[in-house]
């Protein structure tokens, strides 16, 4: 247990020591999105009846930031440790595969939730944001952070160079987050793209998270939670198998 706690603490310190880059910067980025999009689109777009576009945008932006930073935490930690070689300090220890996995995932969720909460806090400046179902929002936040943490772990173990990781982030993670309904409801899309969106796990995370704010969602929240939970379960299974096999970490 204490080995797990040590690795978790180390992973938390790793981003917290440079919190200006790892927490403050993504909050600022999200605030800029909000400022520009809400200003331009507020008068033209209404996604849910009675919900202003700015209010609609807040949970999506918070969740998008959460997801991207959860991914960044595990992936950057692993690639840095691999490239500098200090991953050996973890590999030489009696830490089990599960301890290793959960320490990295928990740290990723913590950073994601900190950034997401920060975005939420900043948006409160623009006016009160309702949160009638906080537990639903929390469940999707934690599972979404876990999914992206696991994806980051797999990508970080797979990548041999920073540019491979950047490619994974730019060509997989960013498109999936952007096309998940952060800026629109998928119901406003043509049928083909609506169907395509339902294959995107990010859609369910954002949609379910938004349910916590408005009590309205494109998919029933329980269905969404099951899909997101199953995705996390599947990714955890794969990650643990990879760690056990020593893939790319132990020769």
């Amino acid at each position: 247990m204490s080995g797990f706690l040590t690795l978790l603490r180390k992973e938390l310190l790793r981003f917290w020591k440079v919190a200006f880059q790892t927490v403050a910067a993504p909050i600022l980025t999200a605030a800029l999105y909000l400022l520009v999009f809400s200003h331009v689109l507020e008068a033209h777009v209404q996604v849910y009846p009675g919900v202003s576009y700015t209010a609609f945008l807040v949970p999506g932006l918070a969740m998008m930031s959460l997801l991207q930073n959860a991914f960044a935490n595990t992936s950057s930690s692993l690639i840095q440790s691999k490239i500098t070689g200090n991953i050996v300090f973890v590999l030489l220890t009696p830490l089990s595969h599960a301890e290793l996995y959960w320490a990295y995932i928990c740290a990723a969720v913590v950073r994601g939730v900190m950034v997401g909460a920060g975005v939420f806090a900043v948006t409160l400046i623009t006016g009160p944001v309702p949160l009638p179902h906080p537990l639903w929002a929390a469940a999707f936040a934690v599972l979404g952070g876990g999914i992206l943490g696991a994806l980051g772990l797999i990508a970080g173990i797979w990548a041999d160079k920073f540019d491979q990781l950047a490619a994974f982030q730019n060509f997989v993670i960013v498109p999936l987050t952007f096309l998940s309904g952060v800026f629109y409801s998928v119901h406003s899309l043509p049928p083909f793209w609506q169907a395509a969106s339902h294959l995107n796990p990010f859609f369910y995370m954002i949609d379910g998270f938004r349910y916590g704010f408005f009590g309205v969602s494109d998919i029933a929240p329980l269905t969404g939670l099951c899909i997101v939970g199953a995705t996390f379960g599947g990714l955890s299974f794969v990650s643990l198998r990879l760690l056990r096999s020593g893939w790319k970490l132990r020769s």
């Binding site: 690795l7 020591k17 200090n86 050996v88």
Partner: protein
């Protein structure tokens, strides 16, 4: 008593390279043991398998009786490894690094021992310095400290003195010798024969993934104490008396292997007695590579 290290039939292939090819080895508790061999001999692969950084294709390895794959947690608790590369985590200070490493082994209140290691390794003044700011020699000492936080009974040092200045090397060896006297089993890999000579009680020589010699240091050195006498002769032929000692001609020079430097005078006298003129003389200590060749030859003759 359980051997500190027990390796049997260990094989490991990387792509087309057979890094280890059936290694059997046993190191008793309390030994100061050296693994010698040229680059690519398989020393680091062997250590990596013991440490769980690599998996064997065949064979088994145990540390203090614990199977390194099946019972990896117990095996790793029994082992401290000082890696060859100067690696560090730039986010942390020396003390943080050692506390984190202790925590990985489940040790949460380890400051008294950490202070003791810092003191022994002359790092106390740098305890709160960031790892980035340390010199190479200091980083090396922190690596040693990291390997010791959990008081492992077996300590493996992979080329611990590579790139370390002479003064530090002496200090490091004094400390490691003390650990050995305190009962720790020490295994080190090195290129430097003289390090093994002064420190280690037993030596294994690896070549191309096989153990080519395994003996006490004293016995091995007895076989390595010779010199090579290289001479340019006129006429260019060796007298009958020296032909048994002849090695292949190198750079136009005849090479004569002698067991002791004192035999040089006799060899020159034998040449003079035949009326052969000596135009050029060089004396060489056999290097490790040649020592190997001789050892391999001896093994084959013995077999």
């Amino acid at each position: 008593m359980t051997p500190a290290i027990e390796v049997s039939g260990l094989g490991k292939r990387y792509g087309g390279v057979q890094a280890l090819d059936g290694v059997d080895l046993e190191v008793a508790q309390g030994e100061f043991f050296a693994l010698l061999g040229p680059n690519g001999a398989g020393k680091t692969t062997l250590i990596s398998i013991l440490a769980g950084l690599a998996r064997p294709d065949r064979g088994e390895a145990r540390v203090m009786g614990h199977h390194v794959v099946r019972d990896y947690r117990a095996a790793r608790r029994a082992l401290g490894v000082v890696p060859q590369e100067l690696v560090f985590d730039p986010f942390f200070t020396v003390r943080e690094t050692l506390r984190i490493q202790s925590g990985y082994f489940g040790l949460t209140h380890n400051d008294a021992w950490i202070d003791e290691i810092l003191d022994h390794l002359d790092l106390t003044a740098k305890a709160n310095a960031n790892m980035r700011t340390l010199s190479g020699g200091m980083k090396r000492r922190v690596l040693v400290a990291q390997a010791l936080v959990h008081r492992p009974p077996v300590i493996i040092l992979d080329e611990p003195t590579a790139g370390v200045d002479v003064e530090l090397r002496q200090g490091l060896w004094a400390f490691i010798r003390r650990l050995n006297q305190a009962g720790h089993t020490i295994v080190l890999t090195t290129h430097y024969l003289e390090e093994a000579e002064t420190l280690c009680s037993r030596v294994a020589m690896l070549k191309s993934g096989r153990v080519v010699a395994l003996d006490t240091t004293a016995n091995l050195l007895a076989g390595l104490s010779g010199v090579h006498l290289k001479v340019r002769l006129e006429p260019d032929r060796l007298p009958e008396a020296l032909r048994a000692r002849a090695l292949p001609v190198s750079g136009g020079l005849q090479v004569i292997a002698l067991e002791r430097a004192a035999l040089v005078a006799d060899a020159l006298a034998a040449l003079r007695a035949e009326g052969i003129q000596v135009l050029d003389v060089q004396l060489e200590q056999p290097d490790l590579e040649e020592a190997f060749l001789r050892l391999v030859g001896r093994e084959e003759r013995a077999a």
